[in-house]
């Protein structure tokens, strides 16, 4: 289901046009689910990047998810899979080095998209207690890198000159798009109820990541960077720049052991996911 028919859709796939931001989207989704006798619902209708339209983001992500949940309980599906993000834990100076799934979702006060998704997870928690027959799987993935995946993070890292907060060098953690899709596929086909972090093994400091890609680094003191990036950032994502740059300032590495136990060891480590992204963009300058 989507708002538009995707380009080059496999003919075996039944497609339905649904707009989750409509007020009656829940009955429409329930109709489709009943018509197709659906057993598993994979809910991925989230913006891959935050937009400046805060209200629309909220309508789609939070209210749209609520519509999906209501439709699922009406259609009595067996399994509901929701994608989420480890960004929901939030970058905080007092985070432990590895955040487990039990860690509270603190988010970031300036990132509205993260706040919306935390609301989704809270709603989902309530919904799960009301619908004990449905298995709910939540996949929290960290920043995805790979040859084809694009969002505001990959676009930021694709720039030749990358601004970095002076004096901060947090450990970063990425996951490859193939590993992410593999986890989603395994969760769809097999029974894995619960919350899982979907992350790549290994961590790398931000400065090393940028050096591997041969990027020019612009270390900027945080107050200056936040002031400089204020208007571009508000125009692009609708958030103050802290909503993104704090993720390059403090630690928010998640512990992926539970996910690896359930979905198998990932093929790509953090370094390999990053290398795959870099080599696909031909960003590394071989001289």
């Amino acid at each position: 289901m989507d708002r538009r028919r995707p380009f080059r859709l496999d003919p075996r796939v039944c497609f339905h046009t649904v707009d989750l931001t409509e007020p009656t989207a829940d009955s429409r989704v329930a109709e489709v689910l009943a018509e197709e006798r659906t057993e598993v619902v994979v809910h991925t209708a989230f913006r891959s990047e935050p937009t400046a339209d805060l209200e629309m983001d909220h309508e789609l992500e939070t209210i749209g998810s609520l519509h999906v949940m209501n439709a699922c309980s009406a259609a009595k599906v067996k399994r509901l899979i929701v994608t989420s993000s480890t960004m929901l834990y939030g970058p905080w100076p007092d985070n432990p080095n590895f955040l487990t799934e039990r860690h509270p979702l603190r988010g970031h006060p300036a990132a509205h998209s993260v706040a919306n998704r935390i609301q989704v997870e809270l709603l989902l928690e309530k919904w799960r207690s009301r619908n004990p027959d449905t298995e709910v799987t939540v996949l929290r993935n960290c920043w995805i890198f790979g040859p084809t995946y694009t969002d505001h993070v990959t676009r930021y890292f694709a720039r030749p000159l990358v601004a970095k907060l002076m004096g901060y060098d947090p450990l970063m953690q990425f996951v490859h798009e193939d590993d992410c899709m593999h986890a989603l596929e395994t969760a769809t086909l097999h029974k894995h109820p619960g919350v899982f972090n979907v992350v790549g093994p290994g961590v790398l400091p931000l400065s090393t990541i940028l050096r591997i890609a041969g990027k020019r680094i612009l270390p900027t003191p945080p107050p200056i960077l936040y002031r400089m990036a204020n208007y571009p950032s508000k125009g692009q994502s609708g958030d103050a720049p802290e909503g993104f740059y704090d993720y390059l300032r403090y630690l928010w590495v998640a512990d992926g052991q539970r996910g690896w136990d359930a979905f198998g060891e990932p093929v790509y480590t953090t370094r390999e996911a990053w290398m795959s992204f870099v080599s696909s963009r031909r960003m590394r300058r071989y001289r």
Partner: protein, 327 residues
């Protein structure tokens, strides 16, 4: 030789009107000889600077700056072996010559398995953590305890990346348990910021040991606790008094006033060359305790106090043994 040639030349010029073929031949031979012996001095070629090449070379050097000597491989808590190896001469210098550290009782650390080392905290920057883990590494190369660092320090810009590369870990239970489970020993300072903020008058009087987090970690992971008393480090940064108003403005827990600190600017942060003695005590075994002892709050606080007095005893022994702060 030169004069001879001159003479020959002048004689040839004088007799230019009577040119016999033999003479011409001889002159030619002489010219050839001269040419061979004194290679003609050519004008230096005009050096054209390859601007594009130069620009490219500088670009290459800039873009690979710091690549060659950097491993980029860090362990999961951010420790970089290569940075550590390069820092070792400096640590060794501080250890041997600056603080002249004495280490007693290193044999008490068990050979097998990780352990939880507990020491008294002092000083603003974690010199004591670095030194104790370096001291233990010198005697037991297979064992390098990771030292715990207070929250406010691990988030301090510029300091944080280096601390993490050198093996510092943010002090929290999750990190300690994870490190011990992965087989590494952990050096904890349960006094926390209160320990670092001790003023000179209160030196070597140990503060409360947190809320027993160290004991909970030990009970959870079933590792022995080893008390360590550090003498000398608390005089390296003698805090005369704490000045709170400006510290709040920049988000620090306190601003220390030492004999040198605000006076000499950042230079005043340099610690004094006191004599350090590190005493390692007998391991405290927790094997006799039941596994669910972690939920017994009274037991935890009692053991916590016992641990504090063990460390205090080690510190007091060290204090009574030394004759002065400096030697």
């Amino acid at each position: 030789m030169n004069e001879e040639v001159e003479v020959e030349k002048s004689s040839a010029a004088e007799s230019s009107d009577v040119l016999s073929p033999e003479l011409l031949e001889a002159l030619d031979g002489l010219r050839g000889e001269i040419r061979n012996r004194f290679p003609e001095r050519r004008p230096a070629p005009v050096e054209t600077i390859d601007w594009m090449g130069l620009v490219q070379r500088i670009q290459r050097q800039l873009s690979t700056l710091g690549m060659s000597e950097r491993s980029g491989e860090v362990d999961e808590f951010g420790m970089d072996e290569i940075v550590l190896r390069r820092a070792r001469p400096l640590l060794e210098l501080l250890y041997e010559h600056y603080w002249r550290i004495e280490l007693h009782g290193v044999d008490r650390i068990p050979d097998a398995g990780p352990c939880l080392l507990v020491a008294n905290r002092s000083g603003l920057l974690p010199y004591d953590g670095l030194m104790v883990s370096h001291a233990i590494w010198r005697r037991r190369p297979q064992l390098r305890p990771r030292f715990m660092v207070a929250d406010w320090l691990i988030t301090l810009p510029f300091v944080q990346p280096y601390l993490a590369r050198l093996g510092g870990v943010r002090a929290c239970r999750e990190n300690a348990e994870r490190l011990i489970r992965s087989g590494e020993s952990v050096l904890a300072f349960p006094e926390g910021v209160k320990g670092a903020a001790k003023v000179f008058r209160e030196r070597y009087r140990l503060k409360r040991f947190g809320r027993g987090g160290v004991l909970r970690v030990a009970l959870e992971t079933r590792v022995p606790i080893i008390p360590i008393g550090i003498v000398g480090a608390e005089e390296a940064h003698p805090i005369l008094f704490k000045w709170n108003a400006p510290a709040r403005a920049v988000g620090l827990p306190f601003l220390p006033v030492t004999p040198t600190f605000p006076l000499f600017g950042p230079l005043g942060f340099f610690p004094l060359p006191t004599k350090w003695v590190i005493r390692i005590g007998e391991p405290i075994s927790i094997d006799h305790l039941p596994p669910d002892a972690a939920s017994d709050a009274l037991l935890i606080s009692r053991m916590n106090e016992q641990l504090r007095s063990e460390v205090q005893l080690l510190v007091d022994t060290g204090l009574s043994d030394r004759s002065s702060v400096w030697d």
